[in-house]
């Protein structure tokens, strides 16, 4: 299993994504991120212990807009 980082636009989206993933058994950490290029500045990211594909699918199914998803984990 690998870490995946998901960047989202707002704290509400991050909370929502965290809940969705936790309900499916994922280990999730939420953190503040600045991803200037894609999101015009501040946002949040979810550090998820799971594969990129599975995490993306779970969030898409719940209608959570992701700004960027990348393989690997940020710092914890």
């Amino acid at each position: 299993m690998n870490w995946t980082t998901v960047y989202v636009s707002s704290v509400t989206n991050a909370m929502r994504g965290k809940k969705v993933l936790e309900q499916q058994g994922y280990r999730v950490y939420m953190q503040r991120s600045s991803h200037a290029e894609e999101n015009n500045g501040c946002g949040y990211s979810l550090l998820v212990y799971g594969t990129e594909q599975a995490v993306k699918a779970a969030l898409s199914k719940s209608g959570i807009r992701m700004i960027r998803v990348e393989h690997g984990g940020g710092r914890r």
């Binding site: 636009s9 707002s10 704290v11 509400t12 989206n13 909370m15 929502r16 809940k19 939420m30 953190q31 503040r32 991120s33 200037a36 999101n39 015009n40 500045g41 501040c42 946002g43 949040y44 209608g63 807009r65």
Partner: protein, 382 residues
């Protein structure tokens, strides 16, 4: 003191609410959605919990559609001005509060007009048909109060919601008097925007409200500013709730509201307390109906027709005088026009207003019996 002004704001607040506000002041003092430190994150979690609780109670699929506001009036202004800022027509009812009528009147200079249809609580189908007949090609909003703050009578929101859906017109409901009292299902009732205060039937603190958006229509913004997201952009974010939530939230009140929602759930959920209040009020209603010199304006308490509140006058006294005499006896009620002049036109009480008696979960029969005794005394010796 016997407090019966619960249609204005419920008092006292349940211990859960008091505790939640206090805990927020102590433990959740950071700004949610801004920093990334531990307290900012835990505060954001508390705020999100309240969004989830409101979404669940009112059957809104996405908790991100829950926008926190200052109060119900603020939420109604966001809907009205967010949809009609460049003109159009609205259909409203004759039970609306000034929080609906005044924003519409203020938009008259921008070409906004409205049609007010009469609510007949005994003929819901006819009321809904009146709404349908009032629709014009330029109608861009149907907005109705769920329950009148003067007469307590219910508007048939499900039937009106069906009409709005059929004509592809945004449908907004003012739930100031019904949130926490009557069940509301945004999906089944086809409500696009649901406006409510935290501090009435949801037993939360004052200075907080919510606008629940189903995401079917996008509102233009009343206020723009910092959201903690997309900070490099000069444009307001398009996603909810950030689009409509600029500036720091009232976290203690939001935590208090969540405490109110938990407490309400423990009391048996929406509708249970209202049943008890309706029964109590029914007894008072019968006593007052048999008392000479008292005019009742509300229907006999029945949740299928109205929310539990009672409006009356005694002899030919101005309502404020009756309320003052009740106050002298330690009973708090509201008199006057209750910011809803069209409802008073409906019952012919524009000149003297009416006395409104509204119980809460904490009201007992002893309280209402005292009201009956004092009103009887006033009626005998006006």
């Amino acid at each position: 003191m016997i407090y019966l002004d619960n249609a204005a704001t419920t008092y006292p607040k349940p211990p859960d609410v008091q505790r939640a506000v206090s805990e927020a002041m102590i433990h959740y003092g950071a700004n949610p959605g801004r920093g990334g430190h531990t307290m900012a994150m835990s505060t954001a979690e508390r705020v999100y919990e309240c969004r989830e609780a409101l979404a669940s109670l009112f059957h809104l699929e996405n908790p991100a559609g829950v926008v926190f506001t200052l109060n119900c009036t603020h939420a109604l202004n966001m809907v009205i001005k967010g949809l009609l800022s460049d003109g159009g027509h609205a259909v409203i009812t004759d039970c609306e509060h000034n929080s609906v009528v005044r924003p519409l009147a203020a938009l008259a200079t921008k070409g906004v007009s409205y049609t007010m249809v009469s609510v007949d609580p005994t003929r819901p189908y006819e009321t809904a048909q009146r709404v349908r007949r009032a629709i014009r090609p330029t109608t861009r909003l149907i907005l109705c109060t769920h329950a009148s703050n003067v007469l307590g009578i219910r508007t048939p929101i499900r039937q009106i919601g069906q009409i709005a859906q059929k004509f592809h017109i945004p449908f907004a409901v003012d739930a100031a008097q019904s949130a926490g009292i009557l069940p509301i299902d945004m999906e089944k009732d086809n409500i696009d925007f649901l406006c409510m205060p935290a501090h009435k039937g949801l037993y939360g603190p004052m200075g907080c409200g919510a606008l629940l958006c189903r995401g079917t229509y996008m509102l233009s913004t009343l206020v723009e500013g910092g959201t903690g997201s997309a900070s490099l952009s000069e444009s307001q974010p398009t996603e909810l709730p950030d689009r409509l939530e600029s500036g720091t939230l009232n976290v203690p009140a939001i935590c208090g509201l969540n405490g109110g929602l938990r407490w309400l759930h423990r009391q048996g959920g929406v509708g249970e307390l209202a049943k008890r209040e309706t029964n109590l009020l029914g007894t008072l209603y019968t006593q007052l109906a048999n008392t000479k010199g008292i005019d009742l304006y509300t229907p006999y308490p029945d949740l299928t027709v109205c929310v539990p509140l009672l409006t009356c006058n005694v002899q030919n006294l101005p309502s404020e005088e009756t309320a003052a005499r009740l106050n002298d006896a330690g009973i708090s009620v509201r008199a006057g026009l209750h910011c809803a002049p069209s409802a008073h036109r409906k019952i012919g009480t524009v000149t003297r207003g009416a006395v409104r008696i509204c119980p809460s979960a904490f009201t007992t029969w002893n309280d209402l019996e005292k009201v009956w005794k004092i009103l009887t005394e006033i009626a005998r010796n006006p």
